[in-house]
């Protein structure tokens, strides 16, 4: 896949970072405002896909990207499972126990482990949707 024109590339350079920051904001504030791990992860994946579409496959080292994001995805899922198992072995024997102090409702650092789940599920969704896109692009380049 070839890249697009200079105008698109310049606009992408300015916009992609802002989109990524907005996605990170939605993930971190997931327990206070609308959003959360799934919504913010999808927005962050959108930033990566925008860069890949604008600059083309030759600019980025796609194979390396794919290996890296596969590893990231699997590690994020592993951390989610470990967090839920920690709840199982602490105190009451309940899966997905909220074992951290809850704090006051409405502050940024509150709600126990929910922000941690949000962050790791966000990372997982980002990398998996980016892989779905990369697999199609790499397939097209190898085939022709």
């Amino acid at each position: 896949m070839k890249g697009m024109t200079t105008i698109v590339k310049k606009t992408t350079q300015i916009l992609a970072g802002i989109i990524f920051l907005y996605g990170a904001y939605v993930v971190i504030h997931g327990h206070l405002t609308p959003g959360g791990g799934f919504a913010g992860g999808v927005i962050m994946a959108g930033a990566f896909i925008l860069v890949t579409l604008a600059f083309g496959g030759g600019f980025l080292n796609l194979k390396k990207e794919e290996t890296g994001s596969t590893a990231t995805e699997n590690i994020a899922v592993l951390i989610v499972i470990i967090l839920s198992l920690v709840g199982l072995f602490l105190g009451a024997k309940v899966f997905f126990l909220n074992f951290l102090p809850r704090g006051t409702v409405g502050e940024l650092v509150s709600a126990g482990v929910l922000p941690l789940y949000n962050i790791f599920v966000g990372i997982e969704v980002t990398s998996s949707i980016f892989i779905l896109f990369l697999a199609l692009v790499i397939f097209k380049e190898e085939d022709t």
Binding site: F38, T104, G106, S128, I129, L132, A135, L136
Partner: protein
């Protein structure tokens, strides 16, 4: 009651497409239409007239909120829908490279 009826009509359109079309891409599109109608039905079930967004404001307790349970069920299902659509598309593009056609009956005859 009319929104429920329109939602069901959307489901029936998708079902008709899945049964009668011969093109693989059309079948994938019909499946995604059925998916959309299911999401809409869940969201309709949880709506309460006069309810607020399900976000608690500690300053004003005792508000009436929209039911958050169907929304939580749909939230994860939407992302899964994207993943399954991509899986379907991957299978379709692989079939096209092998048989050079989208028609399911020709594919069945070619296997022979």
């Amino acid at each position: 009651m009319i929104p429920y009826w329109m939602c069901f009509a959307l489901f029936l359109v998708g079902l008709y497409g899945v049964i009668t079309r011969r093109n693989l891409v059309k079948i994938a599109i019909s499946l995604s239409i059925m998916e959309v109608s299911t999401f809409l039905f869940f969201a309709l079930m949880g709506y309460i007239e006069g309810g607020k967004f399900p976000i608690v404001d500690p300053a004003e307790p005792g508000q009436l909120y929209v039911d958050p349970l169907p929304q939580a069920l749909v939230l994860t299902a939407i992302v899964i829908g994207l993943a399954t659509t991509s899986l379907l598309m991957a299978v379709i593009i692989r079939i096209y490279r092998k048989y050079k056609t989208f028609d399911i009956r020709e594919i069945r005859n070619l296997r022979g």
